[in-house]
Symmetry: C2
Subunit: 320 residues, 2 copies
């Protein structure tokens, strides 16, 4: 999978920009594997990646994320937009396009050249979801996708991380899932730009809708700040999806008009740069670990000839 020749990178990026699905797939694989060509890929992509709207979509298992994503893709395609989907599974060690190719829900779009779909695990070389995913999203943006949808199951830190990657974060809920509401109360309120009450034809949907509206009413916002929308959907029948598309587009327009889009993207880039830099430092530390110097220093500490802080200083002096 490693790129042998430096000139492969511009060739691949040019092919991806022309919409070649194999070039797109190849670039995402290289990004995900943390290939040594990654910095060159990132440099080649940088001028072509700013325009796409990045939409994060998260929610507890069973709320209908896959179905909703599928219907969103259909709606965006009808509007003539090229769409990229990154389905990130924070718990799975599996990765690559093959798994998603089997996913029934995406069969609708399997033969559509205007849709790129990719499953990713979050085991990244430099910090999981927060490291490989933004670069993969840039590949899709460079290939002309707008929006790029990042879908992930809302467990643990993943849903907060996804909010850190997206321009617009959509949180899905379903009626009768008390846990989902509890989780929402605990922290999702701060990350959601749009709530979807999916399965809105079920008992309890009105109560869920009211609960969310009540939570939003209690939240503190500065004047002019976006007030999270709540959209009712029955994704399995395509109902409400047009409203969701409208809410996504309006949030995006609001971000752009207020200047918040730029601020969000700068904060995102800060986190990304830091994660990469820490990863580089850890890798350098690993190199020292595999050499003699750490063991030599550790022996001196064990024998009381130096202390661990002085030894750490000596180690750090070798890093640069």
């Amino acid at each position: 999978m490693t790129l042998r020749r430096s000139r492969d990178v511009p060739t691949l990026v040019a092919a991806a920009r022309d919409g070649d699905p194999r070039a797109v797939a190849r670039l995402i694989s290289l990004v995900e594997d943390g290939d040594e060509a990654l910095p060159r890929i990132a440099a080649a992509l940088a001028p072509h990646t700013g325009a796409a709207a990045v939409v994060g979509l998260t929610g507890a298992p069973g709320v209908g994320k896959s179905t909703t994503t599928n219907e969103l893709v259909t709606a965006f395609r009808k509007a003539g937009r090229r769409v990229g989907v990154l389905a990130v599974d924070p718990s799975s060690p599996f990765t690559g396009g093959a798994i998603l190719g089997d996913r029934v829900r995406m069969q609708d779009h399997a033969t559509d050249p205007g849709v790129y779909i990719r499953s990713m695990s979050s085991r990244g070389h430099l910090g999981g979801l927060s490291a490989a995913t933004p670069q993969a999203a840039r590949v899709l943006a460079a290939a002309g996708c707008d929006p790029v949808v990042i879908e992930t199951v809302g467990v643990g830190q993943a849903e907060v991380e996804i909010a850190g990657l997206a321009d617009t974060t959509v949180v899905l809920l379903a009626p009768g899932m008390g846990d989902a509401i509890q989780a929402a109360k605990a922290g999702v309120l701060e990350i959601a730009d749009i709530f979807v009450v999916n399965k809105a034809d079920r008992d309890g949907a009105d109560a869920t809708y009211r609960d969310i509206q009540g939570m939003i009413g209690l939240g503190t916002r500065a004047p002019g700040d976006w007030r999270p929308r709540v959209v009712r959907c029955v994704a399995a029948r395509g109902e409400g999806i047009a409203d969701l598309v409208t809410a996504i587009d309006e949030h995006r327009a609001d971000l752009a008009a207020s200047g918040a889009l730029t601020r969000r993207r700068i904060r995102r880039a800060e986190a990304e740069i830091e994660a990469i830099a820490l990863g580089v430092l850890r890798a350098r530390m690993q190199d020292l670990h595999s050499g003699d110097s750490l063991t030599t220093l550790a022996r001196e500490v064990a024998e009381g000839r130096t202390d661990p802080y002085a030894a750490a200083d000596a180690l750090l002096a070798q890093l640069s």
Copy 2:
């Protein structure tokens, strides 16, 4: 709490070596708080810390760790040895000597100048248990304690971490605690040098004893490697404690004779140096975060003028 004058450090360390309990307490507080004097304290302690045996004691809640530690202290004191105890609570945000002062179980030793007891939380500035605890153990060793007992509840990673800090790791079990045995099977077997079946007068103690012996029999050991001992105790009545002391002393002698003691201590120092070095790097990164440079780089990334890898390189160049 901060030390104002550099000459305070040698004075404090000299007082601690003379057995002044207030100097010992002060030093541990400075260590635990990550005081800026920490590197100087570590340097002053280094020549005086190698001799003490460090005993880790862990087990699930309810197996009788506190009672066992108390009885161990009594036994070591009868042998004329000065004893230090660090009770590490990995879940508690509380810290300091005050809490432990209230602990009924240690009232036996509250007025004994040959016993130092200290509660620590594991929220450390540089990586929790693995960072502050070894320095606190060095303070106690410099004060003439031998052994230094580190007691922690066996939940999550804490029991594996404690094994990384101790010369001898003692794992407590009690009859009828199926979970404890399951946990033991999962990973404790690799870290335990000595098992204690506490509450050995209860139903099921023989079965627990046989289970553990069976597990040990299945483990793989190189010829000459220590075979974990299993000791039956009823700590609440002091029964079996003499056998536990014997097992601890024999394990220590075995480690010293085989050269494993030196190897363990070098590995420990490696982990400690690395943790400190990573902490220093994170702190430097924080400094960059609070300045303008990261934001400036992030803005260039957000605008497509550079990529995050080039930006991370630029950031790292500023670290050294």
